[in-house]
């Protein structure tokens, strides 16, 4: 007989011995906490019940239990928090309902032990072609911790949902297996934690702490680049967890091999499990995201507005949400649904300006990236290490600067416009099959995005 069965049967007997009102008042919400060596420990909801059961019903309870299980010698009562007091079910009359628009202290939402924000779940994650691989991998990991893909490495640009997926895995695990120790942290926090422990001469305690987790999630791992000691500690933590089949998940803004100043042994380990990328959402996904985010704000929105926002805010999900909020706030203020031109005005104010670069700037960034002298790009040389950067530069001038072919040819030491066309076609074709080049292109663009905005 299990403890539950034992107590349930005893309760059935006790129910006959006491009045119904008494039974409900004193025995409801009781359970067996422990049963060992003739000692039964009962959970009771409050101190009153403890006193009353001890003083008034102890003999009945002991007798009922002994009838069922003769080895029972004594019963103890403990107050347990797991049972919700009856009064809590009551509704309060005074309430200023928190509004959709009311901001909260974000710090309070976060679970102190795991650092997880319960808002991020798989249910609230919208899947589209741009993120379905990452999503599927995360689901697989959460169903089969430490077995499916270990480590899981997710990468993608800002505001595309990496953190959401990472935390969703953590929250899912917390829900399905509450006993598992989960930690969500960022590489920056990991580093400062290490520093703190080292300052207080407790490096061993640091190891102990990070080795105890069943699921360790480190966000924005690219920031450990160049931090030698952190990398070393991470390496050891990683090995320890990996050998013990504990799950590790990383996220970054670029794939492992593209992170500079990262030790080879870490790179290869990051790539050892599953590397999945999150791209930019395409139009349909953006629309789906807007639709789900606009629930409850329908009054001011219609299909046309959502379509307009989806087609005009392209880069990331966070901006998309910001644009939606801006539109809703403005509509509420003016008390009507906005027209498309009005929305255009808001979006122009709120979203990141389109990339504005000069031809010089593009050439400078390309030269910097490939580590060649700017001037050599213009020379008439066919050296391989010069030809490629030159063609990339021409391609970018055409794509991002919209320079005409004759102009581009002219820029590069008075070449013919057909040379520019050839370069553009060649790189375009190359981009379709060479992922290395795609990555390079992305990082060159980041380079001039960063330097032009700063």
């Amino acid at each position: 007989m299990t403890n539950e069965e034992l107590w349930q049967t005893a309760l059935n007997e006790l129910e006959l011995a006491v009045s119904k009102a008494n039974f409900i008042t004193w025995f409801q919400n009781t359970s067996v906490a422990d049963h060992q060596g003739g000692m039964v420990v009962l959970n009771v909801p409050n101190a009153f019940a403890k006193e009353w059961l001890e003083y008034k019903y102890h003999k009945f309870i002991l007798k009922a239990l002994r009838n069922l299980s003769p080895d029972v010698r004594n019963v103890e009562y403990v107050i347990s928090s797991e049972i919700t007091p009856l009064l809590q079910k009551r509704k309060r009359e005074r309430s200023i309902l928190p509004q959709e628009n009311q901001l909260e202290f974000k710090e309070l939402l976060v679970d102190r032990e795991t650092n997880l924000n319960p808002r991020y779940t798989f249910d609230s994650f919208i899947v589209g072609p741009f993120n379905e691989l990452a999503h599927a991998a995360s689901i697989a990991v959460s169903k089969n911790l430490g077995q499916a893909y270990n480590p899981l490495f997710l990468y993608g640009g800002v505001g595309l949902g990496k953190t959401h997926l990472l935390q969703a895995v953590g929250n899912e695990i917390k829900k399905t297996s509450p006993r598992f120790k989960v930690l969500y942290t960022t590489s920056e926090r990991f580093t400062s934690d290490l520093v703190n422990f080292m300052q207080s001469n407790e490096a061993a305690a640091f190891k102990e702490k990070y080795r105890s987790y069943d699921l360790l999630i480190i966000d924005d791992i690219q920031f450990i680049a160049g931090k030698v000691k952190t990398q070393e500690e991470l390496f050891h933590v990683f090995n320890h967890l990996y050998e013990a089949s504990k799950q590790i998940i990383f996220s970054s803004d670029k794939p492992p091999h593209a992170i500079n100043d990262l030790e080879e042994r870490l790179k290869s380990r990051f790539e050892g499990g599953m590397v999945a990328d999150i791209g930019q959402p395409e139009y349909e996904s953006r629309l789906a995201i807007l639709k789900s985010k606009s629930q409850g704000k329908d009054a001011y929105l219609n299909q046309e507005i959502l379509e307009y926002i989806a087609s005009n805010v392209q880069k990331n999900v966070r901006e998309l949400e910001g644009a939606l909020n801006a539109v809703v706030a403005k509509s509420k203020l003016s008390g009507k649904t906005l027209s498309v031109p009005e929305i255009k005005e808001i979006l122009d104010k709120n979203t990141q300006p389109k990339r504005i670069v000069t031809a010089n700037h593009i050439i400078k960034c390309v030269a910097e990236f490939y580590d060649v002298n700017e001037r050599t790009l213009f020379e008439k040389t066919r050296k391989k290490e010069i030809v490629k950067p030159r063609q990339v530069a021409m391609y970018l001038l055409r794509e991002d600067y919209s320079g005409s072919y004759p102009y581009i040819g002219q820029r590069f030491g008075g070449r013919d416009h057909t040379t520019a066309i050839h370069a553009f076609d060649k790189i375009s074709k190359e981009l379709k099959k060479n992922s290395q080049l795609v990555e390079e292109m992305k990082r060159i663009r980041e380079l001039y995005d960063y330097s032009s905005s700063s």
Binding site: R92, F105, K332
Partner: protein, 365 residues
Amino acid sequence: MKLSCNKNELYKLVSLAERSTNKNPTLIALSSILLRTGKNQLFIISTNLEVAFEGSLAASVDEDGEILSPGKTLLSVLYAMPDEEVDLNSAGGNLKIVSKTSSVNLKCLNMEEFPTIPKIKKENHFQISYSSLIEALKNTIIATATNYTKPELASVYMFSQGKLPLTLVATDSFRLAEQKTNITHPSLALLLPQKTCQEVIRIFEDSGDDIDITFNKNQILFQNKKISFLSRLTEGKFPEYQTIIPKSFDTQVFTDKNQILNAVRAAGIFSSKLSEVTIAVDGDKGILGIKSSNAETGEYESNYQTKISGASVEANFNYHYLLEALQTISNQKVFMGFNGPQKAVLIRGADDAGYLHLVMPMRGN
């Protein structure tokens, strides 16, 4: 049982005791009030298994005894009695209440089923003046959460560590109120249910005596010479809140309390369905503006010169939150610290480091 006592005092205690009964219990004894004689005094006892109340008053006792009377009926009877003195007499399961001009015979209940009130060992206890406890509770209870999905937020957190002052704090995650008291305790961390705080305020507000507080893991007992009030504690952990309190501000505003209070109150009349009012601080001109507009009822705007340092800022707030925060400030001068339109505003008395109130803004446009 046979005694006589002052009716008004009896009524006062019975009305407090009646609040600690269970209004529709499965066990009828829980809606009742126990009257028990002591040495020259009468005890009035009630409980709903969440809290327990025990009050005493002077009485001339002729014959010892105890009786369990239905709470609501006893209260109504005493309320209606005109005279100063009453005699209480128990006989055959009935309670006879006799005054100079009237007489009541009240059917009473079986004593057997009235619960015993749990005792707390006097290991952990401290004293606090009623005024500082009541002030701290009143100032923080407004910020407790009104729903029970997170019991630790529907409670006032009372904690103390080493030499630091005993502090009370509450938050519903939209605002936060913190009050430091003038006493210390080596180490304690208790979550007082919101309802308990309300009762403590009501019971001890005008008492004038110091309050003795005894606690263990599950319960807390508030006591003065006449009244003991026992309550369960909320189980759980109050969130780490210190990080929320800003240490520096982009914009600092000093203003007269009544002036801003009146402006916020008036702006509330024209706030939208979302109870939204806008505070616009002009750092260059030193003007504090409070505005609201409602498509149906109209608009309100107030602008006045006051002491401002730092950047201009404009943020929207729920005006109930602002009003409650400003009302609890005892100082005539109010300090407000802003850090942009998306961060909490800190409100406190201009030269009062003991109390602070934080309010999160509403999402603006």
